[in-house]
């Protein structure tokens, strides 16, 4: 029984350490707003021009782009991170 408790303790510590490491790495990998802006600028004409003409950021205000990009992410089935980069780029205008 004691041996079993030791094993579980070790497993728990390892799991906790692993989680902390993964979270730390994930936090390091989170792009900054400027990086998202640059990515969005690069992808805008290709993604947004796939079905219709790409509409410039100046057509809508910041709040409208938040809503529109949610709609477009669903409609066009955009990858989540790319949709976020496009949102940051378009709402900045």
């Amino acid at each position: 029984m004691r041996k079993g408790k030791h094993v579980w303790a070790r497993v728990s510590v390892c799991a906790l350490a692993f989680t902390l490491v993964v979270r730390a790495v994930a936090a390091e990998d989170e792009p900054t707003e400027k990086e998202l802006f640059r990515r969005g600028a690069k992808m805008w004409s290709s993604y947004c021009g796939h079905c219709h003409n790409a509409r410039p950021g100046s057509e809508f205000n910041r709040l409208e782009w938040d809503t529109l990009m949610l709609h477009m992410r669903v409609r066009a089935n955009l990858p989540a991170k790319d949709a976020e980069a496009l949102r940051v780029y378009l709402r900045a205008h």
Partner: protein, 455 residues
């Protein structure tokens, strides 16, 4: 002579100075050998020969000096070029930082307004059209108009309600229909859940290309005509779906997408062979419809090969009231875009089991469309023009007597030529000429023009 030619080449600042030196050296050796060969053994060179040799040596020396100067000049220019390139890159990065910083900085007043407005956001968007149509086959000569408002309500970053109304003028009335009304919940980065009435995720045209300001032609491809116009599939169904996209991991822009759904299922205007497909807002049998679409965009942006999307779709369900007879449909779709050129096409096949004693109802349809934007033509107005051509057709082994009387054909074919003038990215004037080219019938023409606004 040889020495003079080589000297001229090297003096001209030729970058291949090593080759110049080599050929000059070789020339000198040859010359010396010729001179030495000409001098009999033990004989003194004549004064003329000596003078010529001295002249050649001096010329050689001058060429060598010139080449050395050229080499130093080239090295200096290369260093300057590297410096200019480094400065240019640095400047470009600084400007990028400035622009990004200025655009992303939010004023305190702006933040206050954001908080005051709250997290919920309502937005009205949509599209409207005004059109004129002259059609030989149906003896039509009329103006038309329609309005499709789209309501978007964002409850949070994960929850969206959206709906589209379709308001159309028909004869003496205005028809109103719910094109779609759905709730979308973003479960995570890869899964979005949708419930309600939604556009069928079958191919590309139904879900993404049919709005009038997006469709590059006035008409729909033959298999995708809406409602009772003779198309093959109902545009919408009521149910639930899960959809999403997954990056492929080897470059930005390369991803796969999917949609799987369960709905009320397929429904037809009647049980007759050849009957048109209808909306199924209230399920008439215990069976449901099951469908899926997968797509892939394999080319990352950085490859510089354009954009390619390939997709495959399926939709099956029991269509009769007793829930015993199957309807199956499958389709393929593809889009390729590169710069100003756009090529897309779809193919679909449908099969409806009929009651015992009746042959099955089989249908297929397709279209292929190419478009080219004349943006690089340096002529005013022409640079906003886009040329479009589409060939579409469908085959069905049966039509109802009413449809035959309406003028529908079992095997219609159509060539459509279009000219679009883009006033703005979402505002377009379109002109279309259609030529019906059905097998075994006389050709019929139609001219259509449409002004469409996406707002």
């Amino acid at each position: 002579m040889i020495g003079a030619r080589v000297g001229r080449q090297c003096r001209a600042g030729d970058y291949r100075h090593q080759q110049c030196v080599r050929s000059a050296g070789m020339s000198l050796v040859v010359l010396i050998m010729m001179v030495v060969g000409a001098i009999p053994a033990g004989a003194e060179p004549s004064p003329d020969l000596r003078r010529e040799l001295e002249l050649l040596k001096a010329q050689m020396e001058r060429s060598r000096t010139q080449m050395e100067q050229d080499r130093q000049r080239i090295e200096q220019l290369e260093r300057q070029l590297q410096s200019v390139e480094a400065k240019g890159e640095q400047k470009s990065k600084e400007m990028e930082e400035q622009i990004a910083g200025r655009l992303l900085n939010r004023s305190t007043f702006g933040e206050y307004i954001d908080r005051f407005a709250g997290e919920h956001r309502f937005q009205l968007t949509g599209y409207g059209t005004a059109a004129f149509e002259w059609q030989e086959r149906t003896n039509t000569n009329t103006f038309r108009s329609s309005l499709n408002p789209i309501f978007l309500y964002r409850l949070s970053d994960r929850l969206l309600f959206e709906g589209e109304l379709e308001l159309k003028l028909e004869d003496t009335e205005t028809s109103a229909d719910i094109e779609y009304a759905q709730a979308d919940y973003l479960l995570n980065d890869y899964v979005t859940l949708t419930a309600g009435k939604f556009l069928l995720p079958f191919g590309e045209f139904i879900e993404r290309l049919h709005p009038t300001w997006i469709n590059k032609l006035v008409t729909h491809p033959l298999p995708f005509r809406e409602g009772d116009e003779g198309g093959l599939l109902a545009f919408t169904n009521v149910g639930v779906q899960a959809r999403g996209a997954v990056p492929l991991g080897y470059g930005d822009g390369a991803f796969g997408e999917y949609a799987v759904y369960v709905t009320n299922g397929p429904r037809f205007a009647s049980t007759a062979r050849g009957a048109l497909m209808d909306n199924n807002n209230t399920d008439q049998n215990r069976g449901k419809g099951y469908g899926a679409r997968i797509g892939i965009e394999p080319l990352p942006f950085d490859y510089g090969l354009g954009r390619l999307r390939l997709g495959a779709s399926a939709f099956d369900g029991k269509w009769d009231e007793n829930g015993k007879l199957w309807f199956t449909a499958w389709g393929l779709d593809s889009v390729y875009q590169n710069g100003l050129f756009d090529l897309r096409g779809e193919y679909l096949q449908l099969h409806r089991n009929m009651p015992t004693g009746m042959p099955d109802d089989r249908r297929e349809g397709w279209y292929i469309q190419a478009a080219y934007r004349l943006a690089q033509v340096a002529i005013p107005y022409l640079d906003r023009t886009e040329l479009v051509v589409r060939y579409s057709g469908q085959n069905q082994n049966a039509l109802t007597p009413a449809d035959i009387e309406e003028g529908f054909l079992r095997k219609p074919r159509q060539v459509a030529l279009g000219l679009d003038y883009w006033i703005a990215p979402s505002v377009v004037w379109k002109l279309e000429y259609d030529r019906d080219v059905p097998s075994g019938a006389s050709d019929r023409s139609a001219i259509r023009t449409q002004f469409a606004v996406g707002f």
